[in-house]
């Protein structure tokens, strides 16, 4: 078994602030993902990474940066927080294509 941890659980920032969300997994999975979940809008992919130091843009990458310096960790940076991006950010990982994705508990972002 394994687990995905996300820190912080709650993140409060000011409009225009740069904010970083962290994700760690001990599954030894190759691929990791960042999703944004807005109420009523499903899951939208921000970035994903198929291996250490790899980054692939998703549909919602504008306004975000990501970093995969180690296989076990994947960070997401909100480059300039906006009030309209208050949402839950979910990290996920998978061993490969066709396998299920395992999700972390999420980080809830509030922008003041």
């Amino acid at each position: 078994g394994g687990i995905i941890t996300q820190t912080p659980k709650f993140l409060i920032g000011q409009e225009g602030q740069k904010l970083t969300l962290k994700c760690q997994q001990n599954f030894n999975h190759d691929t990791m993902y960042w999703y944004r979940q807005d109420s009523g809008k499903g899951l939208r992919l921000i970035y994903y990474s198929i291996t250490e130091n790899d980054l692939q843009k998703g549909d919602l990458s504008e306004g975000y940066d990501a970093s995969r310096e180690k296989k076990s960790s994947f960070s997401l940076t909100v480059t300039s927080a906006q009030k309209n991006e208050m949402a839950v950010f979910l990290c996920a990982s998978t061993p490969g294509q066709g396998y299920e994705q395992y999700f972390g508990p999420g980080t809830r972002l509030t922008v003041l």
């Binding site: 992919l45 979910l90 994705q101």
Partner: protein, 113 residues
């Protein structure tokens, strides 16, 4: 590009009645993987069931779905709804082109007494 359509945003029904949540998909790839994820309130999504075999029924925790490539569908069904089935359900598609999952918009299922 690839897409998944869940036509119902909200399904409400009485406990004991059958459940059917619709999922159709579009892809040019002939061997897609289809998934159903369930997300209960204040929890993260978790896999409910998956399939890549045409016309084969897959079952888990009382739910079942059959991938029909002829109609590009993967509807989720259960014979008798329970209060604990109330949750958000996502249908998702993965293809051989990469490691992304394409999610539908999600269907909220609310089961009442």
């Amino acid at each position: 590009g690839d897409s998944v359509t869940q036509t119902e945003g909200l399904v409400t029904l009485t406990e004991g009645l059958p459940v059917m949540l619709n999922c159709t998909y579009q892809t040019i790839y002939s061997n897609p993987f289809l998934f159903w994820y369930v997300q209960h309130l204040n929890e993260s999504p978790r896999l409910l069931l998956k399939s890549f075999t045409d016309n084969k029924r897959t079952e888990h925790q009382g739910f079942h779905a059959t991938l029909h490539k002829s109609s590009s569908s993967f509807h989720l069904q259960k014979s008798s709804a329970q209060l604990s089935d109330s949750a958000l359900y996502y249908c998702a598609l993965s293809t051989s082109s990469g490691q992304k999952l394409v999610f539908g918009q999600g269907t909220i299922l609310k089961v009442y007494l």
